[in-house]
Subunit: 404 residues, 2 copies
């Protein structure tokens, strides 16, 4: 008998039929004796539909009212799921963010959960009911409806698991777990049974969009076990634990990639202290995140070439900002490349295994893949390459590091 | 400068474009200096869609959760309208039922508004904002979301007008007001400029579905002036006041009809005290409303024929109940007619004008329309006729009583 949080994403509750299936999954768990809090997303497509409505009025729709608007999506799913459970003979009740309440702070559309009252929901669990809580929403200290950003239902589930001190948190989604690479395009991809929080973070921020990163981070801080699994099969999914779950025999856990990067090169930049700061300050102030930075020292110590990567969406804005900053930053020319991708290998095992970097670069060279930029962390190596060569690179690395 | 409640029905807010139009109507009023509380329905079709979802799960969907589900409809409209006003440069905020709060009592799906707090909203009005309140919803003393029955947004608007002591309440809808008969089928129908609450009640309960009856009743009790008008034109609509607005020169205000009635006749019922009660008791206990009852006294005082009318939907159930009650109620045969309609003339003027009944019956006879049953009140006369003759009857009465 455990106390658990179970979260169902948008595709898992994407139709009334699917909501009924979810109710059946919950009933089965309940009859095993578990105390269950279910967190639900809006039905797939619903949030986008509501956002579209708001954009028909204004691209700059009032932020407070946008939260009121979007929160309705999870309200609908919660009520339907609670109703479906009651219809199966299981006591169930929906608890809106304001009813619990789930207190948030910060800006509208991007709030953080800071606390919640546990009494009402705990009483209901004790009285043998399944509590249904809409993800993504809360209320501010002023009593306004707030939301915590796209994908925020994961964050709600983890916050609830933490505050209600549950044994673990299951994330039901439309895939069977976390894979060694994207299974939609690489048939040799394998499901990962266990992964550490750190690896998962590197995996999810790099493109394996199974779980929202900040939710994984919160789970890591509170050492809360997660289990990512499919709503549409009975198979075990991927368990995400602390470092004790790391399999150090396996050097690499997965190969990820993203195709929304771009590269910018500034030639003959004046090489003096503070020049990098001068280049990147206006980007940062305009919410443009720079990913990798490579700077070659010039032979004469006076000029340097500087390359950096960023999200493709931000490219035009970034170039405009740099050009308009020409008074402060002197350079000969600026060039950019939209057709690049980032390929990464992730694995806690590389900490204790020398030669991983070398092996990666050698493998790519064998495939005649030119590396345009490199960035490394303790458990991840990323390279920027020509976008056309992405598939070849992923296949090669997946095979070389024994993931096939 | 007035303080007003303005209510917009489902078709008035049936699309984002229409919501933007409503925002423009409100802005115009606001710039004239009015203090405005706007009450909104769910977008046309939305409530039915949500009900359909719930029925896919169960025809007997959990009532508490049905309220959570349905309340989301008005929440969406409120947020979109408040956002649209902000976009037009007018300060506006949505206030959910639980935020005000609007306190209700009674059962889920059919609660009554018993009170509401006026401070938050009044402060906002004083600070030059337009307050948007979702119709149809409130919260119970237990803090659960409640709804007040279909068409309940009218009731919300009137309750708000009463509790906030506004000068009047405007009901914006998809027709230009209340008509002397149904303008969709009778081109000679005329818009009524002024009508008394009592007449409006007779009109609306008989088929002129412009406003919810219980809302008119509440307005009558508190002597709150209503103005029913179109969202899609600038024309004045129909003003609904107390008896002072009755035009006694006009004998008849309108001709209404309904086509969802049925007639049941029991032949040779044993004529003894209590027999009518024995017949109707099982119907009442099964929530079947009987409308008109006609009983002919038999020549020998031992047998009687009894005819009554009821809603067509209830006919089969009613016949079954009567037949299964044969031990208590003796009769020779039972017959029924589904193809009947009810045609009524309504007018406060008939109180002071003799001969209206006679004139009505004579006119129908001239058209060879047989009257199957009659029922009268102070300001209304209704007859049951063959359904096929409905149009002929309405046209004749509309003309005879000078409404063309």
């Amino acid at each position: 008998m455990a106390k658990i949080v179970v979260k169902f994403g948008g595709t898992s509750v994407g139709s009334v039929e699917k909501i009924i299936s979810v109710a059946k999954i919950l009933k089965k768990k309940f009859l095993k004796g578990d105390k269950i809090i279910a967190v639900v997303s809006a039905m797939a497509g619903k949030t986008n539909e509501l956002i579209k409505h708001s954009e028909q009025i204004s691209k700059n729709f009032n932020k407070r009212e946008l939260d009121v608007l979007l929160a309705s999506g999870e309200q609908v799913t919660s009520a339907l799921l609670a109703g479906a459970l009651n219809n199966l003979g299981i006591k169930s009740k929906s608890f809106m963010g304001w009813q619990i309440p789930i207190l948030t702070s910060g800006e509208h559309n991007n709030s953080r959960i800071i606390n919640m009252n546990i009494d009402k929901v705990n009483n209901f669990l004790t009285n043998k009911g399944i509590a249904i809580i809409p993800g993504f929403q809360g209320i501010s200290e002023q009593g306004d409806i707030t939301t915590i950003g796209r994908g925020g239902s994961d964050a709600t589930a983890v916050a609830i698991a933490k505050i209600f001190k549950t044994d673990f948190c299951e994330i039901y989604t439309d895939v069977e777990g976390v894979y060694s690479t994207d299974p939609r395009y690489f048939p040799k991809a394998k499901k990962i049974n266990k992964i550490s929080y750190e690896e998962m973070l590197e995996m999810s921020s790099l493109g394996a969009k199974v779980m929202q990163s900040s939710a994984v981070q919160t789970a890591m801080i509170y050492d809360l076990p997660l289990h990512v699994r499919s709503t549409f099969s009975n198979k075990e999914g991927t368990k995400i634990f602390g470092p004790e779950s790391i399999d150090y025999n396996k050097v690499i856990t997965g190969v990820t990639y993203s195709k929304d990067d771009a590269k910018v090169t500034l030639l003959d930049v004046q090489d003096k202290p503070g020049v990098a700061a001068d280049i990147f300050e206006p980007l940062g102030k305009n919410s443009i995140n720079v990913d990798m930075v490579i700077q070659n020292i010039s032979p004469d110590g006076k000029k340097t070439d500087l390359t950096f990567t960023l999200k493709r969406n931000d490219l035009n804005k970034a170039i405009k900002l740099i050009k308009s900053n020409k008074k402060k930053v002197k350079y000969k020319s600026i060039s950019s490349d939209k057709k690049v991708s980032k390929v990464s290998i992730v694995g806690a095992g590389m900490i204790t295994t020398p030669g991983v970097t070398y092996k990666m670069f050698r493998s790519l060279a064998q495939e005649k893949i030119n590396i345009l930029a490199i960035s490394t962390s303790e458990i991840k190596i990323s390279v920027i390459i020509n976008e056309k060569q992405t598939n070849k690179a992923v296949k090669k690395l997946h095979s070389v590091f024994n993931l096939d």
